[in-house]
Symmetry: C2
């Protein structure tokens, strides 16, 4: 089923008993730094610490008991894996999470604590490895973004934003494969037609900027970024056309501005988010986003799964 406001509303009904309606906060202390009226959707306060719970829930609640009992496999840089491991526990099945060796220690530990089996590999081979494990065990793959049920699940975050801030002028969403941005943009574009919707991605991995310029999904060289949750080198084929249709622009952001944003959100906004989640604020700091002083601008803070050791790098910024 292709994405639409109706399937997103169905997803909202389905996941409601298991997910939190996260707060949308007005952070007036950030206005003078960002040159607009600042709001955040605090998905860092979601259960499992990231929006990924929504998609994993919507997908796994759609599986049959028999499918669930054969086990679940997911490839993930961390947040999707934690969500899948958590939902597996809630639904009484087991999960194997295939993670890049470069994932932060805190993400690996949080998944292990949920009782999931962890397989570490190179980021580039994580989909191949997870497909092989599925084939060997007859387990079901829960894709991190390129799946209609996952996209609809992430879209529930956009539905909430549109309900919580109906006079929003602009929305900034972190993007990797595009599961979150496709779902959220579909909800917001439908409910708030005149709202500007922007994506933000690491400039070292500009898969959406380049694909939108080309008009088709392209694969970019695997650059290195501190945005450990935004590691896809190509847009999801199902996500790309939705993003292309709904989104005004996607901005490539430097690691330096992303970290400045993380520090600003922490010290002035009092919210602890992971680096990737701060990239939309980084886009504004980098001067990429057209915003005015009176604009109500919402930043989707996608997750908060960072360790205290990751704060050390902020001291020198």
């Amino acid at each position: 089923m292709s994405i639409s406001i109706d399937v997103i509303k169905e997803a909202q009904q389905r996941i409601a008993p298991y997910a939190v309606r996260t707060p949308l906060l007005r952070l007036q202390n950030l206005d003078r730094y960002l040159g607009c009226r600042v709001y955040v959707k605090a998905e860092c306060m979601q259960l499992t610490g990231a929006f990924k719970l929504r998609g994993a829930l919507n997908k796994m609640l759609s599986l049959s008991r028999e499918e669930l009992d054969r086990g679940i496999v997911a490839a993930s840089s961390g947040n999707h894996g934690r969500a899948v491991a958590y939902v597996a526990g809630q639904l009484g099945t087991s999960a194997v999470i295939v993670m890049p060796r470069t994932a932060p220690a805190v993400k690996i530990e949080n998944i292990r604590a949920l009782g999931a089996e962890i397989v570490l590999c190179d980021a580039a081979e994580r989909f191949e490895v997870s497909a092989r494990i599925c084939a060997e065990r007859g387990a079901t793959l829960v894709p991190p973004y390129n799946d209609p049920a996952v996209m609809a699940g992430q879209g529930t975050c956009g539905l909430e934003i549109a309900e919580q801030l109906p006079d929003m002028d602009a929305l900034l969403v972190p993007v990797s494969g595009g599961g979150l941005l496709s779902g959220v943009s579909e909800a917001v574009r439908t409910l708030l037609p005149s709202c500007r919707i922007y994506g933000a991605e690491p400039e070292a991995l500009p898969r959406y900027s380049e694909s939108l310029a080309a008009g088709v999904p392209v694969k970019v060289n695997r650059g290195t970024s501190l945005a450990d949750a935004l590691v896809s080198d190509t847009p999801g084929p199902l996500c790309f056309p939705v993003v292309k249709r709904n989104v005004n622009a996607v901005f490539p952001v430097s690691d330096a501005n992303m970290l400045k944003a993380m520090k600003l959100l922490l010290t002035e906004g009092k919210l602890f988010a992971e680096p990737s989640a701060c990239i939309g604020i980084g886009a504004v700091l980098q001067g990429l986003v057209p915003v005015q002083k009176t604009d109500r601008v919402c930043f989707l803070i996608s997750g908060g799964n960072a360790g205290l050791e990751q704060l050390e790098v902020l001291a020198g910024i």
Copy 2:
């Protein structure tokens, strides 16, 4: 005028154009650590980073233009001073802030950035020094807690909590001189008569625990604590009877549990608060507070004025 729900409501009207109605957040991720349903009143997101803005506003908005023009003096461990300096700027007057030498660097810098004159002294002599400066310059003193207008201003935070969480079972409030606890407890005791109201203070400076046991305000020995915002060695004479009348108990909390609480709030709650603001959560971690799994317990997170360097101490906890 003595404290009452009416003067607190008047204060709310008076300060509304200048202060933020801070969010009251449900932090479900903390439930399993604290054994209850966890809510926080996020005064760390207040303008100037702490609840102190409320009292300073209510006091200074009650002064005549002539009084304002002769200048303002405040003695403060940091947060009250920042609030007074900010309000002085808003109202077009100047402020002298008398601070203990031991205040965190970030608090001193934030006050200096607001254009206030800073005088450093020993914590024990800050009231004497500020009284002398007032006498010399004909300036008006804005006391940090022992003042009816300041107490009523802080009470607006309690008014908001009672409106935002009317089915609250218990409330935990940090206490030092008692300006916040007296004002908040007056509002909450009046509006939610069956809610349990608790204070939490450093066990190294148990001025309320000992005074409540004695039945009158007593001065305690000046112990050393990391709660840099909770440094009073005696209850405010005006605050004490209000606290005695309204509050179920005040708990003395160790620095170790306060820091554990700060870490928990940061890593699991995703909120960055200063150590003193976390002392209520520390009281629960220390096993001092009678809470049940189904209780809705609200923690007043009084401020967020901490520097990143203060996070280093959390790594070892």
